[in-house]
């Protein structure tokens, strides 16, 4: 059984310069209470790995706006003009990665693979500095795994054992990131007793989850 963490206690676990994998796609499926707790604590020098940087008012975009993110690895920053400005001015290091490559690099770390071979990015600036590998006459880019110190996940429901289930398009990167970080913290909308989630409906097994964010006062 997992203990329920208060958001402030979860934020306290995250040191300066930590590498965070954060679930969500334009804020859908992002752990909003956790992000707000990190913002309030003011932890700096963070590396954020997420599908996108959302908007300056929402999701991980709030941590960009508060100046707590020094580096980001993301596929899209189009709706965060502040991040674009910081990138062009050189105030923030942003590595733009094709979305499919991003999820596969995270998956590679989580599944113990040494990297991913993909045709995505060939002939584009994405291939700069990367090894090209030929397999059966086809060219591929070698893309390296991405591992995090923390994975910050959002889900629809969890049980006391930390088993997680997701709703509709709020899955996105969450089930993949659950395998790719040293410490995994999940923020659920509902926490239910063990036994209420049928085994076949468990999308992320509780053995991967280190901490659950409490749903109410705790």
């Amino acid at each position: 059984m997992k203990a329920a963490l208060r958001p402030e206690a979860a934020a306290e676990m995250i040191p300066e310069n930590a590498v965070l994998l954060v679930g969500g796609f334009m804020g859908t499926g992002s752990p909003h209470r956790l992000i707000e707790a990190i913002r309030l604590r003011g932890t700096r020098g963070l590396t954020v790995i997420c599908n996108d940087l959302c908007t300056p008012e929402k999701g991980v975009g709030k941590l960009v706006a508060s100046g707590q993110v020094s580096r980001a690895i993301v596929s899209h920053i189009g709706l965060n003009p502040l991040a674009q400005k910081k990138m062009i001015a050189g105030d923030m290091e942003i590595e733009l990665v094709p979305q499919g490559t991003l999820v596969e690099r995270i998956r590679a770390a989580g599944y113990g693979l040494g990297g991913v071979l993909t045709a995505t990015g060939l002939g584009t600036p994405v291939e700069d500095g990367k090894q090209i590998v030929e397999v059966d006459g086809k060219r591929f880019l070698l893309e390296r795994p991405i591992h995090g110190d923390f994975a910050l996940l959002a889900c629809h429901h969890a049980d006391y054992a930390g088993n997680l289930g997701y709703l509709l398009t709020a899955h996105n990167f969450n089930p993949i990131m659950a395998l790719a970080a040293t410490t995994v913290i999940a923020e659920a909308e509902h926490i239910v007793p063990v036994g209420m989630i049928p085994p076949d409906a468990v999308k992320t097994p509780g053995v991967l989850v280190d901490h659950l964010l409490g749903t109410g006062p705790c």
Binding site: F25, L96, P98, Q99, A119, Y166, A170
Partner: protein, 218 residues
């Protein structure tokens, strides 16, 4: 008289075959769905995690965990499936996606597409575009023929490419163009558009065979 985007959306819709899986980019390409009859059984994928994307929900009925790749609230059609990002991009990169329709900043004589950044000015990021162009079975570019009067179909792209793969079709309000080994072949004219008008608005060399028919629109 139809406006330019309406012409493009209607013409692209005619390319969509019954029973296929199709990914529409955000912006102009997303309008194509309005012209695809429900009864032909097409599933639209949104790469953030749904196969079977539906229309916007009725007022007040939005579900926060059911969004499209632009972050907007959507519905899902009967038979829809929700998937995580690894599955979503597995569909795209693994050759399971029949067609993608994407916007474009530039296309060149080799059929190369540039649609993800303007160095120093606009760096939205590639999102899923590079994966889509590299992996979809068919790539259709849906874009206005010119930008502020300047041609977007050029001898060679000056912006960073999205992929090294040649796109399959370019649809604008003025023309339908197919990139081939020999170059860009003009297939159709827009409504009440002359071949001379198309040539004047195109910087790339176009292959024009005898009679160029006017595009059919539903």
């Amino acid at each position: 008289m139809l406006d330019a985007k309406e012409i493009i959306a209607r013409r692209v819709a005619r390319e969509i075959r019954p029973g296929t899986l199709v990914n529409l980019g955000i912006g102009l390409p997303s309008f194509v769905a309005n012209h695809v009859p429900e009864e032909i059984g097409v599933f639209f994928q949104a790469e953030n995690g749904v196969i079977g994307l539906g229309a916007r929900p009725p007022e007040g009925m939005a579900e926060p965990s059911l969004t499209d790749a632009g972050g907007g609230f959507v519905t899902a059609v009967p038979g829809a499936a929700s998937i995580d990002s690894a599955m979503s991009f597995g569909l795209i990169r693994g050759g399971h996606l029949d067609m993608t329709v994407l916007g474009g900043l530039q296309v060149d004589e080799k059929g190369h597409l540039a649609n993800w950044m303007v160095p120093g000015k606009m760096v939205p990021g590639m999102g899923g575009a590079m994966d889509l162009v590299a992996g979809a079975r068919s790539v259709v570019v849906a874009m206005l023929h010119t930008a502020k009067g300047e041609p977007k179909i050029l001898p060679e792209c000056t912006l960073p490419l999205t992929a090294e793969r040649r796109v399959d079709l370019i649809v604008t309000e003025l023309a339908v163009i197919r990139p081939t080994d020999a170059g860009l072949e003009l297939l159709e004219r827009g409504p009440e558009v002359s071949v001379e008008q198309i040539l004047a608005a195109t910087a790339a060399r176009l292959i024009v065979k005898d009679d160029i028919p006017e595009m059919q629109l539903d």
